[in-house]
Symmetry: C2
Amino acid sequence: MEDTEPFVVIGGDAAGMSAASKSKREEPEREVIVFEKGDWVSYAACGMPYYIKGEVESLDDLVSITAEEFREERDIDLRTRHEVIEIRPEENQVVVEDRDAGDTFEQTYGDLLIATGATAVEPPIDGIGLNGVFTLHSMDDADEIDDYVSRDGVESFGIVGGGYVGMEMSEALRSRGLDVDVFEALPHVLQPFGEDAAEVVEDHVREKGVDLHLETSVERMTGDGSVTGIEADSEEYELDGVLVGVGVKPNVGIADEAGIEIGETGAIATDEYGRTNYENVYAAGDCAEATNSVTRDTDHVPLALTANRHGRAVGQTVAGSPTEVGEIVGTAVVKVFDLEVARTGIVDHETAEDAGFDPVSRTITAESRAGYYPGAEPIRVRLTADSETERLLGATMVSEDTAAKRIDTVATALHAGMTVSEVESLDLSYAPPFSPVWDATLTAAKVLSSTL
Amino acid sequence: MEDTEPFVVIGGDAAGMSAASKSKREEPEREVIVFEKGDWVSYAACGMPYYIKGEVESLDDLVSITAEEFREERDIDLRTRHEVIEIRPEENQVVVEDRDAGDTFEQTYGDLLIATGATAVEPPIDGIGLNGVFTLHSMDDADEIDDYVSRDGVESFGIVGGGYVGMEMSEALRSRGLDVDVFEALPHVLQPFGEDAAEVVEDHVREKGVDLHLETSVERMTGDGSVTGIEADSEEYELDGVLVGVGVKPNVGIADEAGIEIGETGAIATDEYGRTNYENVYAAGDCAEATNSVTRDTDHVPLALTANRHGRAVGQTVAGSPTEVGEIVGTAVVKVFDLEVARTGIVDHETAEDAGFDPVSRTITAESRAGYYPGAEPIRVRLTADSETERLLGATMVSEDTAAKRIDTVATALHAGMTVSEVESLDLSYAPPFSPVWDATLTAAKVLSSTL
């Protein structure tokens, strides 16, 4: 009976549309309905800073498949501007609000996927509602920031938060010719990358003309109607606009109200198939937890690949081929001006100790190419291992040349549970234009291994 | 008693000097003697094409550590222009010719490392001895070619062989403004990379103005005293110079004469510690075999990382800490004009079948970065797997953007013995400047996995 009822998806971005597409491809006869509360579907949110920077011409370029294509080519019943306001898991129903018609209706499902994503956190700071104060999470946000930055008289921006968005937007706004002040309450930017990588980034952004205020809490946004500045640690900064980028939180409201289990991370708890505590209700993407292969614990890392992969697996499962969503190791990269900054696994000792390891780390600086070859740049690699089992736990890398894709070697080694000396023995590629004879990863493993 | 006798090394390049340095560091009191028949030690042969191209100013830039430094800072008794002409393993002796003094002497050893390297093959073609016909294997070769190319009237070069040296030197000589004809007897260039990658390379070098003659055998070099052309498949080509690059053969003469076992590949057979059939005689580098982790068979892949690594391990072993030399997976990369060409593992079906596999391959073309991000280039990835066990066997990659370091992910997966679906599940890095959401490796694994 379930199979004759439609597969219903809440949320039309990466996880939702991947699931819808995959299930339709595997089981074309089954109806697939996607409710998306906004106008945009399946867009590359990670590309928005490059739109504002001016490297991507149109927001439409960030859309990989349009709503029309989903409807007509993939035969998915995609309804934009439709918000699911209630889930009734005992009745296999959702309640949907049609935002244009202004009415609500019930929709029965055979299987349900919650792919409600995450929302930019808006901290309770005075003045956050002023004109000229933005977050960057939706395509509409990107459009509004781009418009605002283009206005006459907008010559400076404050950025609250030195995370991914803060660092990427520093680059974008400097490129647009603005003065940029970044305020970070913690001692370092890019918290998930650890202090060692962060220090390299901090020097770099300062060289690029960013005023970086670390360990500095923003107390209020000043202004009357429109923002005119920031007050932080009792100092006043005159600013023409403010971007708040202090992280995201998973959208779990309707799930929580429906009695769907929320995990310790604050995201929806799921099993290895992406299933919640209801057998026919799944969750995937930025609203859901994942299993970290290094810590063997649940984790919440709201990134695009995981959303796509988990969504696709759920689509396959509901179409009748149970497919595990897979595990993550927490790989992430970010471009900050000319730097490639990369991480994978566990990079801080506290997390490692919490997971039962006895961590030891070593940092090396090598060259990205043969030292005599043009374009060779320093690459800083920090590896962390468990001193008892000698198993590799994580890495960070920073360089102006090919750090981003080098982290994948370590990510693969983490999935395989390799020891440091196994990593040291890897037959990695060498030619003078691409690497020294000993790739930086091997050199780092050699140094760490000799201390174990 | 052995330990009081010196550690003697034959050959002062990567494997030899790595072994000498490591053993001296671990056991400073033991005498280490290196006999090198030429003048140069520890140089980056792979950098020579870039010297000829003009990107590396001086040959000295290719020397990582000078002979003086080895002698004075590392306390190694390094004797250049000393050739070992005989090994007497039963007597723990070598016979050495001092090329300057013109006399010979005997040297007793406790442990011996044969690191005699390889030599460029000189095929028995008429006219190979003419002036203006070169191979590129030693620093003196590089110097002579550079001089010759600088002469007035040298406007064209023929290259015999479309392997690594042939492709790298095509780029170097075109950059110097020469007309270049490449003659390859096989149907494709870069034989170890397989037909699929080769075809991309062939189109590319032709676009760069190289005249490529495939399935064309060179019959003779013409000229009287100095070369004036090549005759190939009964056609004549007027050329001002010729480079012969048809591969290398391991230098095993004195080892073979001494009763040291030569393996099926033609290189010296060794165990997991780099030991030959004599307990205190080791071989490492381009003259020695290695174990291929994918085929589980002996292999001969004369590349720099293996030479360095095996030499270092032997140095550690003779200093009293037995250390395995490690296994290879056959990772190799080469830059050909703007292309990065990479391989690892088994890429041709015949080799896979010989190793007992039932190979299946799929090729995809993806983008190197998010499609909307500036600088995105096509990347072609071909993966090969065993259809029975679904284990990944090998890969090739070709792109103008970051193929070289992407191959390391697959190399790591091969070391770990991963299946295609395990590769498909890897948590690889994504940010628009560096990769699409699904890295090309993941997309290729997805496509191959769906056919298994």
